[in-house]
Symmetry: C2
Subunit: 376 residues, 2 copies
């Protein structure tokens, strides 16, 4: 196992890239989907179950962890991997995005952002330097630059101002991160849906130099068409030989479209959150398990899926335990959704390797268009 | 594997009995603790995890299952074992006790009891005959007679009247159950804390003849001392060559005391319910994981326990996920509690086999008296 962080590109089909990120904690096969483990747990899952779905890496949320149980406590306890019993790589976000979406009484300055905790109202400050410190204390393998990002739509002045602040923070993040062999720091491209700003941001990041590059500021309300328009050019502005990470995306068709446009890594709460609300992803689209049509249905959610929900239970059972608000409902449906997402990534990796990614995309959309199996 | 239901007594130490119940779905080692799977799930647990703790049998609740998803639906789907993915034996209660504790607008007659569902207010009737039918539809391996039981304290007239009604219902249950090879019907002794009524009830049940005998009407508010006083004589009134089941018990020290008095089987929601409220059972007594003393504690709940909560996580982590109301808290603590209960049963079985049950009891109480490990 390597002691270095290194991206190896193994193949390409159109713009879709096949690769592997070597890290001291193990390889990350790309395109990769990262399940979200916000508060040191992927909700409703045991970590060994997450690994069994094929996940090579998790995402942890700096904002949540700095508030509870705190980065200093996790550090004292041996770091986030040991704390949450996940020995594979962990990527942590910078906290910036979630301060803006969750915290109260935010105040943004050149220095950073002060805010009150949504948990207990306590006052905190995040700066590029503090974010780097927190992510170091957590023991994150892939650290994200501290950035700021406006909700879309926003006017060009606001987008430019925010992007340029984020680029200054990117330099401060780089300086504060220092030299940490085996650990990676990713820059985050901003610029909204403005091509010239995306170009300016990419140039600034490349000038600084990072181990990987994220496309930030998307999936914030602009819709899939606008996002894809931006992804038609934004990833191409980033270095060919480094991983490209699209933050906070997304639905299965978002993910396939992003990979088709040259994205290597993604994360989203959708498979886990949906698992707790009874929304299930299958090859044939979305199934709402609370629907009465499933009450007497002895068939599995997806006969081709290898997860425990599909191997061991009927739709009728999954419907019953959802209606009865039993914890096993969230446990099984989350497991299924994560399995679906990882199977989707494996299918794309196989297709890119075989040079059949166009066929893969066509089949993917055709199966979804068929819709769920007919009621009995 | 036998096709018959058969109790084999393997040893005895004092009044404590070691045995095995052979059933077509597998052996049940006694003394046995049965985790409760009320609504076709042991809350917060995968069934394979329940089995991994050493549980040979689960309890299912007729009252809950008849209301949702209904016994007829479970029957159409292949029975409760298949529905909930548990292939080992299942014991179902008769529904009588929970109608009295949960349902609304109950009306009790010689025929049975009518009530309104606590879920949707719908009207239902349970009789000995209907209870037998529901338990047959569920596919239960051990069926309990339909009975009625007053909360204690109650006056002697009320206790006698209730006990005699339950004995008439026991005969009707026996008649309705019929001849079902491989399936067992257990009678339930009533009579409160009145020795003469316990004697009368035992005589009535033996006259009818059952595959096993429960001690009912205890653990309903009388306290441990009164319960043990009753258990000093009540089990002795039941046939030596059949399993004896103490319903709804209990705390770890209740269980040890009951085994010492000749009980072979027990069930209780305590390990599972406590797992969801942060109350943990260990050899050293009860630990409340929400207590701030655990926030920085890197040690496991119990260094000698083999469950995932103890093998893979610190008290600090368990404290954190409980405070953060993460589902993994209930999942891990429930698993631990069930492991503790099953380890306790295995310890008692080993001690009875070795003829050292008195030593076992002394050590059990001595370790609990020590209390939890000192804070760091």
């Amino acid at each position: 196992m390597t002691r270095r962080f290194e991206f190896e590109k193994l193949g390409q089909d159109g713009k879709a890239r096949l690769g592997v990120i070597h890290t001291p904690r193990g390889d990350i096969r790309t395109p990769a989907f990262m399940p979200v483990g916000t508060a040191a747990t992927v909700k409703a899952m045991m970590p060994e179950s997450v690994a069994s779905t094929g996940a090579d890496i998790l995402l942890g949320n700096t904002y949540h962890l700095m508030l509870r149980p705190t980065a200093e406590r996790i550090d004292r306890l041996g770091g986030l991997h040991r704390f949450m019993n996940w020995q594979k790589p962990i990527l942590t976000d910078s906290g910036g995005f979630q301060v803006m979406s969750l915290a109260q009484l935010r105040k943004l300055t050149e220095e950073g952002v002060t805010f009150k905790s949504h948990i207990d109202g306590s006052k905190h400050t995040l700066t590029p330097e503090r974010s780097m410190e927190i992510q170091r204390l957590l023991g994150s393998d892939i650290v994200m630059c501290f950035d700021e990002c406006p909700a879309l739509p926003a006017d060009r002045d606001r987008i430019a101002e925010s992007m340029r602040l984020s680029m200054r923070w990117a330099q401060r993040s780089r300086d504060a991160f220092g030299d940490r062999p085996g650990h990676a720091l990713f820059g985050i491209q901003q610029g909204g849906l403005e091509r010239d700003f995306r170009e300016e941001s990419a140039a600034a990041l490349k000038q600084i130099g990072f181990d990987g590059y994220a496309v930030g500021g998307l999936a914030v309300g602009e819709g899939q068409e606008a996002m894809f328009d931006c992804l038609d050019y934004a990833p191409d502005m980033l270095p060919e030989d480094k991983p490209r990470y699209l933050m906070g995306v997304g639905k299965p068709d978002d993910i396939v479209g992003a990979v088709a446009r040259g994205i290597d890594m993604m994360d989203c709460v959708l498979p886990t959150r949906s698992g707790r609300t009874g929304q299930v992803f299958t090859r044939h689209g979305v199934v709402n398990i609370k629907n009465a049509r499933h009450a007497d249905d002895p068939r599995p959610l997806d006969e081709h899926c290898s997860c425990p929900a599909c191997r061991n239970y009927s739709r009728a059972y999954l419907h019953h335990v959802f209606r009865a608000q039993e914890m096993i409902s969230g446990m099984l449906l989350t497991w299924h959704n994560l399995q679906y997402y990882q199977d989707l990534m494996q299918g794309m990796r196989d297709a890119i390797a075989a040079g059949t990614f166009d066929d893969f995309q066509r089949d993917f959309h055709a199966q979804r268009a068929e819709g769920d199996i007919e009621p009995l």
